[in-house]
């Protein structure tokens, strides 16, 4: 097995890592399914309040690609259709049954099934949404044949769920899924393992795939970084990616004929009392997860009271969903962080600032590399123009000049964006660039803007 060594990047050590134990199997009262989880998708509502739905039945579909639908993860009754300004659909709330009843699809035997049959069940169940294409990080197009399918078997982001733990019993289901996916591409299926812990990974048991080890700090586990090293994407090329927990769900769908997207979700963060794993479906409410792991409800930073930020995802790539929010479709972790709405007297001028981590040696956190920090959401400064050069390159292990790409996006120069690599990146690949940036520029938002621009131009 080949090992690819990445030197660029940064591992952040944060307080509140999930203990490897299952705290609870959550049977939610209500789940929310949100169109905003799906990039570049305009929803068409398919149910009304009061309708009874089963797990695997569509709640809404994509207006532009009606064959792609989004299913309820539980059975129950549609409790509410939540709309925002201009009647924009924000969420469909489903009051869940105690026992989930599933839409029964026909189980398939992978070796005998054709691409069309597998595609049909993936689309009809709503699990197709788990397949993401590069470029742009949007739901894959069923008509495409990708040049490769790439699966990252580990998440290197801080406080992310440990896939070796969450999927340890799902190797068989994942094998069915990769065998099924192999019918969609003429190229390889890449499975990328962590060089440190990959030998114990359930994905290391997979057969008929091309396995590669990645050694190095975050973002070594980002599938975009891995693609850049294994099968870089040029203009007109498409690579599909899928998260391991969707592989497991896909295996269950194909072998048993049910849409079961339940997964082990890491409840983490400095404000979680008892960080650990909860078995649940996407769409469960944060308050249920909060009850399972407990939360530190009041905490002072520099003598000032701070609230909690509830993030679906990890601190470097997640959505601020709020205390009333719910778990995103794609996420397998939630993070409870302190809101950084405090002021720190002469913070930037202090010689020592022991509560804060910095990659820069102008602070002294390099002295204790293993120390865990209680990170909060303070920006730690004001936004400036691009001033310091070279700092972004240190955390982006891709053959890309980040500042040039960002400036091309700001200038809305499509040709330059193509040349500088817009096809190969999505926001999460630039998360560390934004984290370390002394100019405090919102780099992920710039990348998102660039991708939206490309989607608009290419449509």
């Amino acid at each position: 097995m080949e090992t690819i060594r990445l030197r660029k990047g940064l591992n952040l050590h944060l307080k509140g890592e999930a203990q490897k134990k299952v705290l609870q199997t959550l049977v939610p009262e209500v789940v929310s399914v949100k169109p905003s989880d799906f990039r570049n998708m305009v929803p068409k509502l398919l149910v009304a309040e009061g309708d009874a739905v089963k797990a695997g039945q569509f709640l809404f579909s994509d207006k532009k690609r009606p064959q792609i639908g989004f299913a309820s993860p539980v059975s129950g009754t549609v409790k509410a259709i939540v709309r925002g300004e201009k009647r924009k659909l924000l969420a469909v709330e489903v009051a869940a049954d105690k026992e989930t009843s599933y839409v029964q699809f026909e189980p398939l035997t992978v070796s005998k099934a054709s691409r069309q049959e597998i595609q049909k069940v993936l689309l009809e169940s709503g699990l197709w949404a788990g397949i993401i294409q590069r470029p742009y990080g949007i739901i894959a197009n069923p008509e495409d044949t990708p040049k490769a399918i790439v699966i990252s078997a580990f998440n290197s982001a801080p406080l992310a769920a440990d896939i070796n733990f969450t999927l340890k019993n799902d190797a068989d289901a994942m094998q069915i899924a990769v065998d099924a996916l192999s019918k969609f591409t003429n190229g390889k299926i890449y499975v990328n393992l962590d060089a440190e812990t990959g030998n114990g990974s359930p994905l290391n048991l997979l057969r008929n795939v091309e396995k590669t080890m990645f050694k190095g700090p975050h973002p070594a586990g980002n599938v975009g970084v891995q693609i850049n090293h294994l099968c870089p994407i040029g203009k007109g090329e498409i690579v599909w990616t899928i998260q391991p927990h969707f592989l497991a769900a896909m295996g269950k769908l194909i072998s048993k004929g049910i849409y079961d997207v339940s997964r082990l979700v890491a409840v983490t963060g400095p404000r979680a009392v008892n960080p650990g794993y909860v078995k649940c479906v996407p769409g469960v409410h944060i308050k249920d997860l909060r009850a399972a792991a407990g939360s530190v409800d009041s905490e002072n930073i520099y003598g000032q009271p701070t609230g909690i930020r509830f993030v679906s995802g990890n601190p470097l790539n997640g959505e601020n969903v709020g205390a009333d929010g719910s778990l995103d479709f794609y996420d397998d972790s939630v993070t409870f962080l302190s809101e950084g709405n405090y002021r720190e007297l002469f913070g930037w001028a202090k010689i020592f600032r022991p509560k804060k981590f910095s990659m820069s040696r102008s602070y002294f956190s390099w002295l204790c590399p293993k120390k865990q920090y209680s990170a909060d959401t303070n920006v730690n400064g004001g936004e400036r123009a691009f001033i310091v050069s070279g700092v972004y390159d240190k955390v982006l292990p891709m053959d890309i000049y980040p500042v040039y790409l960002l400036k091309a996006i700001l200038a809305e120069d499509i040709e330059k964006m193509e040349q500088f690599g817009i096809y190969e990146v999505i926001g999460e690949d630039f998360a560390l660039c934004e984290y370390v940036d002394p100019s405090k520029i919102e780099i992920q938002k710039i990348i998102d803007k660039g991708i939206d621009l490309m989607l608009k131009e290419m449509a």
């Binding site: 995802g313 601190p315 007297l345 002469f346 040696r361 920006v379 004001g382 936004e383 040349q419 002394p438």
Partner: protein, 386 residues
Amino acid sequence: MNWILKTMDKMRPTFSKGGKLGWLHSTYDAFETFAAVPATTTTGRVHIKDAVDIKRVMIVVVMALMPAFCFGMWNTGDQHSLAFGLQWGFWMKVWYGFYRILPLILVSYIVGLGIEFAVAQVRGHEVNEGYLVTGFIIPLIMPIDIPLWVLALAVAFAVIFGKEIFGGTGMNIWNPALLARAFVFFAYPSTITGDSVWIGGLGKHADKVVDGFSGATPLAQVADGIAGAPDFMQMFIGNIPGSVGETSTIAILLGAILLIWTGVASWKIMVSCVAGALAVGFLANGLAEPGTFAAYPAVNHLVMGGFAFGAVFMATDPVSSAQTETGKWIYGFLIGAMCVILRLFNPGYREGMMLAILLMNTMAPLIDWCVVRKNVRRREKRAVAK
């Protein structure tokens, strides 16, 4: 300490938009964010941020300038006492230096920050920290006897035409501090050239000078003939006539260590700058007839004039230097090479570092373009090859 925060809470409404002094809100913000890191929180998908900000980066550069500044204070007094035959002790020399440099620094900061604050106010931006460094560097690269009104004009020129018309810190093409020096050099050459400007009081009281004291900088002495120039060690230590902060190579090296250790300035630029100067220097040594300036030991170029200060503090300005890592090697090398070429072949003005850096500031985007172009080509080929 909380009283500071409370006072700020009380003052803020007055300075907010709609308040009595609302038109001063950028200025107020600058002071408030100086006193305390603001309570702003992240809004995107990245929820946490590194502790470092531009204020921290800039304060590190100011700290790195301190050895050169302190040495400059002492040296100003030392040169003055040498020139006038005074038997001053250490503290008297430092006091004299402080007393002479303080007005330069005050003028630099008052004029420069005044313009910065006004522009930030008009644009509705936050005040940039860049001038904290620029404003400190400018007095250090001027002769001690520069008239304050010339300094004020130079600062205004540098801030307005060097920075603000491009959009402020981060957008400028040339290093603003060097632009101030270039402005003085071209607009008021008599205040920055000749033998009498480098030592405090020498211009005004030329009659009281000790017999045989010239006040010429080593660079001028060497250019007139190698004999009589100070030796390497004296220039390395720096008790020689010259601009306030750039005489002592050893003090500048202390700053360089801090800059490289903290990663604030690029070591690649510093190293390649030295390499470029040595390459041209040795080449000239090899080809030159003995006794000419070209035969002057190449190593001495590193400790003469503004070379060390320029290589450490100005060539490495992240905004006006090359942005790509490969580009930094080329950019630094060419600065060093160009500096020595200018010294050897430009009899009118021997100090090549200022012009070398400004020239390469102009060329830096071109160097980067070539480097990035190579990357684009490679990426395109990669697509074809597959």
